[in-house]
Symmetry: C2
Subunit: 366 residues, 2 copies
Amino acid sequence: MRRMAAPLLDALVTPAALVDLDRVEANLRRVAAYTREHGLRWRPHTKTHKTAELTALQLAAGAVGATVATPREAEVMATVADDVLLAYPPVGAGRLARLMALPTATRLTVALDSREALDGLGRAARDAGRSVGVLVELDMGMRRVGAQSPEEAVALARAAATTGGVTYRGVIFYPGHLRSPVPEQGASLVEQTARLRAFVDALAAEGLRPDVVSGGSTPTLWRSHEVGGLTEIRPGINVLNDRNTAALGACDWSECAFSVLATVVSTAVPGQVVIDAGSKALAKEEGLAMAGGYGALLDRPDVLVRGLSEEHGLVDVSATTWRPRVGERVRVVPNHVCAAVNLHERLHVLRGEAVTATWAVAARGW
Amino acid sequence: MRRMAAPLLDALVTPAALVDLDRVEANLRRVAAYTREHGLRWRPHTKTHKTAELTALQLAAGAVGATVATPREAEVMATVADDVLLAYPPVGAGRLARLMALPTATRLTVALDSREALDGLGRAARDAGRSVGVLVELDMGMRRVGAQSPEEAVALARAAATTGGVTYRGVIFYPGHLRSPVPEQGASLVEQTARLRAFVDALAAEGLRPDVVSGGSTPTLWRSHEVGGLTEIRPGINVLNDRNTAALGACDWSECAFSVLATVVSTAVPGQVVIDAGSKALAKEEGLAMAGGYGALLDRPDVLVRGLSEEHGLVDVSATTWRPRVGERVRVVPNHVCAAVNLHERLHVLRGEAVTATWAVAARGW
């Protein structure tokens, strides 16, 4: 086979999603060291990147398995991970059939918060002749899903422990509100530890002590060890990072490993340039940064994408002397990397300015 | 070949994008009658649906050609349309090469607002031995792209008229601000007509009278005839419609032909149910309706999707007695149909409750 020269960045048609592999590897080393130091199992949420290749790198760096949210993510990640956690209630015959069709060698665990979901999963697992682990979802203040009280958690855990086809393994929650911009909607770290202990103690008193206590997210990542009782964390974003994560102080700008390459297509309106990365390339997600906007230039973080229509990104150059010409290229760090990646068919993987690989965003859709 | 029975709605794995064909056909008849009545050419923007199949229906209903924004859309729509308008500046060698590779039988016209874009297009067209039409983009108050003054428009039109490989055909603008929620950023209908006349008169005075004056969008669709001098309109959304269009009064709720089928996956939090259509199925686009939210139930428009995370839609049921159970299905009309369609691989086409076809959203990406 002839060895092909790596294409250069300049050859890509824009908009194009870029991943800086040096930064990815540094991000992987950082979380691996942190979880090792604190005795936490690291089970990254793969919804951020939706690629088998990046999951494989995470596993090689020390991750114990993959977290997924959809059947498609489970199918794709099961090609490289033998331990998969579906952190989402498996409801509906179609979704259950897809889960049961995963390779029998895949150790599958599922999060749920209702008897309906548990009963459906148990039936499907028995019919398929497989055993599926169950984590009872707890609401730790996010008010999205999860048992509202220790009593509810105990009732569901007891049902899981006595349902054929499934094995009760522990509890799971999402703590992303901890450092959210509206912290009053959530709970403080101390309150969260106390709330978690109330759940765990109630379960233990009924002989249902959880082996797994799964929490963690990128905004709260580096304080996970302060939450007593955690056994594993599931950060997603931190492998790539984004503008919101930097604004929250959970990463440095130099740790942002994802960007969208775009071309300046118009400079007609004074004080503004238009790039060919709009809401269909960057995702129209609000910024947490005080400065607003939908993204910032990787090499000029003070220059913001102020407006988005579907194929137009409006870059505000009114406060800079930089005046790019039509045809010039820029790299944009979006506010929310998970939403942006999901808009692209492939990620172009860079070492410096050379494209060394192309990864299919294979787990898009459901 | 064995005729297969049409699958039923119930058999789809959720979330699933649905198109109600009866409503589509009614929407097509309505715009066809309007444009016929007012002597306007109808060139629908196909970025809304990104399918060749729906473009074919639009052409059969009387559309004169397809409007597109990206090379991929041009490639897909050229399989069914022989007249394609790229309403986007073609900047960059990669994009130009893709355009020049379109079938030679495709009549191609391109919008642009800079000498750089014009010169690049002319070179590419000459190299490819084809002739490409040019429309000069005008800024009619949107402040996104387009010539800022009649003088700028004249200079660019003159350059187009004298550049080899291209043919100057007229002018184009986007009037979507007309009925936007922040009308002070735009111009009134009377101001717009006056502004357009100033551009057209200046061009005519220099022997550059535009054959094509292309405007129109869904919010302004039904008042297009009030803008003097228009020759064609390019509405995109109106074939499917959405919650924002209904909120603007540009369609009736019963004309919304697109919805996302979703399953209730959790009812743990009081006053709320969680569905499996989140921001990756509905798009997190702000609503124009006073009521806020990211979508509303097709059959219960007063029940709103109040919050979205990636795979969770938080449906507010606090003000209704309706209490769906886990496993129940609902249909959601999103705020912005173009952004929602772009998140799906395929559209399931319905006659009543039967799925009669599946259309690939083939023009996603670039």
